[in-house]
Symmetry: C2
Subunit: 646 residues, 2 copies
């Protein structure tokens, strides 16, 4: 279970899976480049994702721009809410994240108090290292008992304060720059989006998108049209998003530029069943529900998604369907089932509009990491964009039976009404037609009883009296043939970089018995390179065979690499075990006579022998979209033993 | 040849190939979203690109960040040179591109002068429309003959002025805001990169990359290591780049955010041969060389790339190899050979460091458009980054025979030298050891003849005299076993969006005989969807057959769409001709009895009939990486005639 992270990271660096971007220039934290194996692994994960979700379900894939104008993200809520609170030291220019600073300073005072009272504070070196603490020195000062109690209460709810509240705490407790004692600015909101200016005037403010979702929402009408107006349907998008983290750490898990794959499944709010739910209902998931968490526990319930939905634990079939599909995807690319759980959001972490939200979390040496979010965003996004732009983003469906409604309506006797009220007529008419049904009911009764009504109309002096002969207020029956509704959205959202890193941790092991022989046991489907080709020596006479094999593999779309360096075959295999290459083909002197070659499997190090054609065919069956096992794939080949592993 | 652009654009919009991004919010010029067919077309082009270049030649693909710190782009030259000159009207805030403004104003004065002289100015309405002219009104004012001559000379070289020179012209000719007559600011450089701030302090200035190349150069050492130090090799990268155009137009051809695919092929500057050049030497290309252009002509030379390289027209084999490979790629995805040419850069458009540069240009209704650049960037990029960071970016090779050099060297008699010059000793020593070979030769002669030398050393008062007993300056023989060199870079750089748009123009036609039946005749390999499935009616009994066929296709990785709408089969086919779907399969009443289905080809509208298995197999052979023709693919199927087309 525990991963030797230092060893893993050394392999990933040595093999250039990824590296800090711009390290020649000292690097920029939170930015990483993917080298050839990392890039191929990423491309394979994306390719499987596209087949598993987009092609399998006929989703409508779009590619929208990253540059996004201010207005769009203002409407979506990101300009106001995608932020952390910061304060600045005007003297040094240093910047602090306010909640972290207040927490740290108050914690240090509690520690100083403990020491003053002769109680040992617990050491927390690892914590210190992790958090890059701003407070370097604990001052031994005894506090009043009452102050200690106050501070303890504040710390218990530190995540719940708003920026201004944090500012009040800074004043009350005289919190300054821990290094210099200098005063700090009021808390300012620091938005986590990268800002830029579009066009030459600098007047069109824009951001790099924080998610791919908004582009999909904005294209809703075109997508619905592309889908011949049929519901439900899903759009999907794969692309980079950005988040200007204050102080990124944890390697690939918290970065400023990252690849996302997002699905927006549009569904009728009155019917969130899913036509293919039955296909996945039996799948068992490890769920960590919100009730358990609210009790401060982390117990997992392992139940089928069918049960989870029918018991109400998961809000609806569509959400449940996607949880199961996410599970199947992650397992398919090599995530270990016992290191995957679905954690439900608690009420206080969920957006107010969300109906339900579950994160697929993967266990890594950094803890349980959110890698896929799956939220029911309700009609929120379509509604806010529609309200802001006055463009309808709705589905119109012909009702099987028309909806019958009976409403109060006001009719005017124009011939009498106009002359009577003259220039005020328009205002009065508008006033009456914009009344609610409840108000109209009262007015109708009044008119019936008193034969006139008396109303106050904005912009018209004195109460207006209207006699019964001028208007009628009566109930009328209407037939509504078209149902118009704003769809709800179920959004599975994948952080590809986080999945990729977790997969590397889940796949990493040190081969038993041979020291420092690291292996990345990627499933063939995702492995960066499928086949390593090794000639027994770098003699030219092996070249035609290597060419023939790699051409045959290339025709089948199977990636291979030749290693004709002078290292021993064992060393060359070891190098490729580190790259996660699942199969190795050896060309040796026997090949020259009978064209037979050896095929080796990375994890078992088992070997078999056969003709070029047979071996290529075996490889093809084992790297297929629906791959067969080694035993099945090589059943027709001859087992082979060699000393090559050493 | 001529394309009905209005008609094409209406199809592309209706079928949501692409659309202006954020059009719900009024749009942002230069930003486009790709809808489902555009996105699939783009993905297919990228996929073929990756197979054609990266996999075929074992290139090392990397994925580097778009966010790039200031220092990197300062070093690469983009901060200083990736810019246009602008000026601003402080009163109105309006912004002008200075060279365009000066040109336009001076041209309008020449016209006004012509009118004043009673000569008719040529009408140039189309030009006016294209350029969105700032000068709306021509003032009829006669100029001095001398001024006319001056202005004509200025206009002839308008592209050659620097910003300050343009500023001088504005002063000299009193050029103001044409609309208001108000004064304008001095010319300012407007950098075309999008700027942003990385991290919370706002102090780390960054840009969105203008090309993917820099990330590849910065990772050179890691890539060379990944390639086991072998040369030559290539890296490749596919990703978005950005350019903050002043006033984007021409649809997808000039946008602010675009997908690029770039290759950096690293090669020994002393040996630019290419091991696979022989494979392409026979390929004939349509070349527009620089000599022809300098004569003001556009005549094409059609010769084999072998001849072009051996005659020196194309600088070297590696460059020539890539020109041929670019040609093969473009033809493969459906570009028309007669609408493709390679234009050589003239001396004044090429960067000073470039050895040679050719653009693959595609003919569109907007003219000949640069879609792929192929430049020999020499050692420029690696050299500047290495100089800036003091990190070597070089290849080290063991020489077969060591290099023998004989150089002057200075030896000091430390015992005498130190005591004599005391604190100045270090400076004098440093001065002497940093002399060039030529200087050392002169000093050696002086020492020999005068038995002492006299030198001026910075920071040491008065000339320093050094006697022969303190130093020797003599020639020494050295053996150099390692050759160290900075590789040159040949860079094929593809603008995927421009290729995609050109391909749409090249593929578009109106079917003879039936009005407004538009067809996009994409080759099957790139077509967004390969197969349309149409049941003859939307009766449920066809569903099992549709499911069976689409499952069979999906297993083979072939994308298909069902259209079970109530439109006639002919109308459904017509809709899919607009989407460029190459094949249609009809399920009809006969299918219910014998499982036979009809296969239709988009361009010929020919139809054949066979079993599900036979038809799927035929489709597979025609959409393969190396596809067979319709005739070949359907040879075993029965020709079929129906009335469905109407």
């Amino acid at each position: 279970m525990s991963v030797d992270r230092e060893n893993l990271e050394s392999v990933l660096k040595r093999r250039f899976f990824y590296a800090p971007a711009f390290d020649l220039y000292g690097g920029v934290s939170g930015l990483y480049d993917y080298g050839p194996p990392g890039c191929a692994l990423q491309a394979n994960i994306v390719d499987i994702w596209r087949k598993h979700f987009v092609l399998e379900e006929d989703m409508l894939e779009v590619d929208c721009t990253m540059l996004t104008p201010y207005e769009v993200l203002k409407t979506s809520g990101h300009v106001d809410k995608f932020a952390d609170w910061m304060c600045r030291d005007p003297a040094t220019g240093e910047i602090f994240r306010v909640d972290h600073l207040v927490e740290e300073v108050l914690e240090s005072r509690l520690k100083g108090d403990k020491e003053a009272r002769g109680l040992a504070a617990e050491p927390d070196k690892s914590e210190e290292k992790k958090r890059k603490k701003k407070v370097k020195e604990i001052k031994v000062v005894k506090l009043d008992d009452q102050v200690v109690a106050e501070i303890e209460s504040i710390l218990a709810q530190i995540d719940g304060y708003s920026g201004p509240e944090l500012g009040d705490l800074m004043k009350k407790y005289n919190i300054t720059n821990p290094a210099t004692g200098g005063p700090l600015s009021e808390p300012l909101e620091f938005n986590l989006m990268f800002e830029t200016a579009i066009g030459p005037s600098g007047q069109l403010k824009g951001y790099l998108r924080p998610e791919t979702a908004q582009g999909q929402f904005l294209n809703f009408n075109k997508l619905l049209e592309s889908n011949n107006q049929k519901m439900p349907f899903a759009s999907a998008s794969i692309g980079k998003s950005f988040r200007n983290e204050i102080s990124p750490r944890s390697g690939l898990l918290r970065v400023r530029e990252f690849l996302m794959a997002e699905i927006e499944h549009f569904v009728d709010p009155l019917d969130k069943s899913h036509p293919r739910f039955a296909e996945v209902a039996h799948i068992k998931l490890r769920l960590l529900n919100k009730t358990v968490q609210q009790e401060g526990k982390t117990d997992i319930t392992e139940i089928s998604i069918g049960e989870a939905v029918s018991s109400g634990l998961v809000d609806n079939e569509t959400l449940g369907y996607f949880l199961a599909r996410i599970y199947l995807f992650l397992i398919r690319i090599g995530i270990k089932p016992d290191r995957l759980r679905f954690r439900q959001h608690m009420a206080n972490e969920m957006a107010h509009y969300a109906a339900d939200c579950w994160d697929a979390e993967l266990q890594t040496s950094y803890g349980w990491i959110e890698c896929v979010g799956c939220a029911d965003r309700s009609a929120y996004d379509l509604t806010v964009h529609s309200n802001r732009t006055n463009e309808k983003l709705v589905v119109r469906q012909t009702r099987e039976t028309p909806l019958v409604t009976e409403d109060y309506e006001v009719d005017f006797d124009k011939k009498k009404f106009g002359p009577k009220f003259k220039k005020d007529g328009k205002k009065i008419e508008q006033y009456l037609t914009s009344r609610s049904q409840d108000e109209l009911e009262i007015l109708a009764t009044e008119l019936e009883e008193k034969l006139k009504i008396s109303v106050n109309v904005d912009g018209v002096d004195a109460p207006v009296e209207i006699e019964k002969e001028l208007i009628t207020i009566s109930r009328k029956t209407k037939l509504d043939h078209i149902r118009e509704f704003t769809p709800n959205v179920v959004e599975p959202s994948f952080g590809i970089g986080r999945i990729l890193y977790s997969l590397m941790e889940h796949s990493f092991y040190i081969r038993d018995g041979s020291e420092s022989r690291a292996v990345l046991s990627f499933p063939p489907l995702v492995a960066p390179t499928k086949v390593l080709l090794v000639p027994i020596s770098n003699d030219d006479k092996f070249t035609p065979f290597l060419r023939k094999i790699s051409a045959a593999l290339r025709r089948l779309g199977i990636s291979s690499k030749v290693d004709d360096s002078s290292a021993t075959i064992g060393r060359r295999y070891a190098r490729n075990d580190e790259l996660g290459t699942p199969f190795g083909i050896t060309v040796d002197f026997e090949t020259l006579t009978d064209e037979s070659i050896t095929l080796r499997e990375r994890d078992s190090t088992k070997q078999v022998r056969g003709s070029i054609e047979e071996v290529v065919k075996a490889v093809q069956s084992m790297v297929a979209v629906e791959p067969v096992s080694w035993e099945e794939g090589t059943v027709k080949l001859t087992p082979f033993t060699s000393e090559a592993e050493e």
